[in-house]
């Protein structure tokens, strides 16, 4: 009985692992096909019998995307736009969020609960609805077709989630340490720089990555606000620019898409441990 039980346990184990491999393959297949397409010459892309891997891998799609022979503007322009917008928004929103997180985690005051609930609610406002009012506002402020306009929006829209997550990181910093420093004569600013900031830094990195992913990927505002000036396009708009033209060159589209996806995926993998243990932390608590 013991023997057969062990056997059935083993076969169950094997079955589970087979299912796991299938799940992983089904999940990976589209991504592999994206990468594979980006290395295929046009003849293979429109072949009647598509192959999973390119027979004659080529860099030519990447070369075309990077020197910008399709749109007439090299890839670096859009990369620079995206990096500028994203990094500025991440730095400013992280600072603003850190202040708010300290306020929420370290003080009790009137409207604190109201503020927390407000943070949860505004996360759910649909961007495709607000974009109508924001388009008119930014139009009258002369902030359309401008990277500054996008930066301002990305700062504000990254804040609710960033504050929500950061306040938990601030809350777990032991107060003894701050108080000990205060007793040793450190002022609030000194306590912040030499005690709180180093301890909150890992949390700050995690929340910055979230802000980065949001700003790097953002589509609706960039699409609506960067209508006319192609020089101002960010990478998501660049990727869909190829996509929207009638005869789609899928090699180019996939190559531009890979170039756009890789940086954000690397960031994602950096924080994945944190995500795996407490992703719901952002949504629930932690």
């Amino acid at each position: 009985m013991n023997m057969s039980r062990r056997l059935s346990r083993r076969s169950r184990r094997i079955a589970l692992n087979v299912v796991a491999v299938i799940v992983a393959l089904v999940t990976l297949l589209p991504i592999l096909y994206m990468i594979s397409t980006s290395f295929k010459p046009p003849t293979e892309i429109f072949s009647l019998t598509p192959h999973l891997l390119p027979d004659h891998p080529t860099w030519s799609n990447y070369a075309q995307v990077i020197d910008g022979s399709v749109i007439g503007i090299p890839y670096w322009t859009f990369l620079r736009n995206s990096l500028f917008v994203t990094l500025t928004a991440v730095v400013v929103s992280s600072l603003v969020a850190l202040l708010a997180a300290i306020g929420l985690a370290r003080f009790r005051f009137r409207f604190r609960t109201t503020y927390l609930i407000m943070l949860l609610v505004v996360q759910m406002l649909p961007q495709q609805a607000l974009v109508i009012a924001l388009y008119l506002d930014f139009r009258s402020l002369n902030l359309l077709d401008s990277l500054t306009g996008l930066i301002i929006l990305y700062i504000a829209f990254a804040l609710p989630v960033t504050i929500w997550m950061l306040r938990n990181f601030v809350a777990v910093v032991p107060r003894d340490m701050e108080e000990a420093a205060a007793i040793d004569g450190a002022g609030p600013v000194r306590v912040f720089w030499s005690v709180l900031l180093p301890l909150v830094a890992p949390g700050l990195v995690a929340t910055s990555v979230f802000a980065f992913i949001f700003a790097w990927n953002e589509f609706v505002f960039a699409l609506t606000f960067l209508g006319l000036d192609q020089q101002k396009y960010t990478l998501p708009i660049y990727v869909t620019y190829f996509f929207g033209r009638g005869a789609a060159n899928w090699g180019d589209i996939m190559a531009s898409s890979v170039l756009f996806t890789v940086p954000v995926t690397i960031f994602f993998l950096i924080v994945q441990r944190r995500l795996r243990t407490g992703m719901i932390a952002g949504a629930v608590k932690g």
Partner: protein, 339 residues
């Protein structure tokens, strides 16, 4: 004096006693005068920058779409050649007599009704699977899942349109080679999934959204499963409960708060899906494939733009989402997240 402060600090700092231990002065008398005012003002000053940004760029625009939805806002009004007029409910009456509104609303509702349970079921099954796997295999599967999740919506949408492309897409090719008893056959050659009809387009969108969203559900469910003591399942098994029974009487009750949050988040995301739907249905123009968000966007941004009607639609979308958000906030309060 310093000693007393330190002792008080040691007590309040214990995170198990007061999770968000506050700067509470042990001797209030000390903080009368200037320092006390500073202490009282401090949280408000700290919150001021974020509150101002959120109020100006998230809350005020929400009020604005409410205002515009009762006005005749269009290009002449933006340019100032014609005055802005209050038009009462005429934008709304225009909407409810428009069959396109009802078709887009229907699409949004049906999409959420189909995709939310599908995502939750797939995600939960994968979460349960991850929990059963050995550590190496679990890391492998969850890393691949994270890759799908990490894909920007734009890249994933463009990728799925390519997979389902009528000329050269791998799905049509595979379907033409699938035996007919499995639904395959030559008629799939060159089948146009995305820009013809709503049902095929939203089938692609369903696969895309489930593919991108199940990892979040799986990872969250896994985190919840890790909180359940192993003895509970063991006891259920000893009592002869089937895995199915064990899931519904042990796992589900414990994970119910997490499921509640995941359900509400999924409804909010899927009802409001925009970027993926916009790209998969071929941007603007395929009007029979509009969901509510795309329809609002189209009204506001295709010439001649009608910001008033667009705002009315946007407000309807926002209000539906806010009603679901009320439940979401309540679920969070019950979880103790607002502490």
């Amino acid at each position: 004096m310093l000693g007393s402060q330190k002792r008080a600090g040691a007590v309040t700092a214990s995170p198990t006693v007061i999770p968000n231990g506050q700067w509470r002065s042990p001797l209030p008398v000390r903080f009368l005068s200037g320092r006390r005012t500073r202490r009282l003002a401090a949280p408000y000053l700290l919150l001021l920058p974020s509150a101002a940004l959120i109020a100006l760029l998230l809350l005020w625009p929400t009020v604005q779409i409410g205002i515009y939805s009762f006005q005749n806002y269009g290009i002449p009004q933006v340019l100032g050649t014609l005055p802005v007029q209050w038009v009462g409910f005429s934008n709304y009456s225009q909407i409810i007599t428009d069959p396109e509104f009802w078709s887009s609303l229907r699409i949004s509702v049906l999409f959420a009704v189909a995709v939310v349970p599908l995502t939750l079921i797939v995600g939960t099954l994968v979460g349960l699977l991850l929990h059963k796997l050995g550590p190496k295999m679990a890391t492998f599967v969850s890393t691949t899942a994270l890759l799908a999740w990490a894909m920007p919506a734009v890249s994933a949408s463009v990728l799925f349109v390519w997979l389902f492309d009528p000329d050269g897409g791998i799905v049509d090719w595979a379907l033409t080679r699938t035996p007919s008893w499995l639904g395959g056959g030559a008629h799939w050659a060159g089948f146009n999934w995305t820009t013809n009809q709503a049902l095929p387009a939203y089938t692609v969108l369903t696969l895309l959204v489930v593919w991108q969203a199940f990892p979040f559900i799986a990872v969250s469910v896994l985190a919840g499963l890790k909180m359940i003591p192993g003895e509970l399942h063991e006891a259920a098994r000893v009592d002869g409960a089937s895995p199915w029974r064990s899931f519904w009487s042990v796992t589900f009750p414990v994970l119910k708060p997490i499921f509640m949050i995941l359900l509400l988040l999924s409804v909010i995301w899927d009802f409001g899906v925009f970027t993926q739907a916009y790209l998969v249905t071929g941007e603007l123009g395929n009007r029979n494939e509009y969901n509510l968000g795309i329809y609002a966007y189209d009204k506001a941004f295709t010439t001649p733009p009608s910001y008033g009607v667009g705002s009315a639609l946007a407000l309807i979308l926002t209000l539906v989402l806010l009603i679901i958000t009320v439940w979401y906030v309540r679920a969070n309060v019950r979880q103790g997240a607002i502490e």
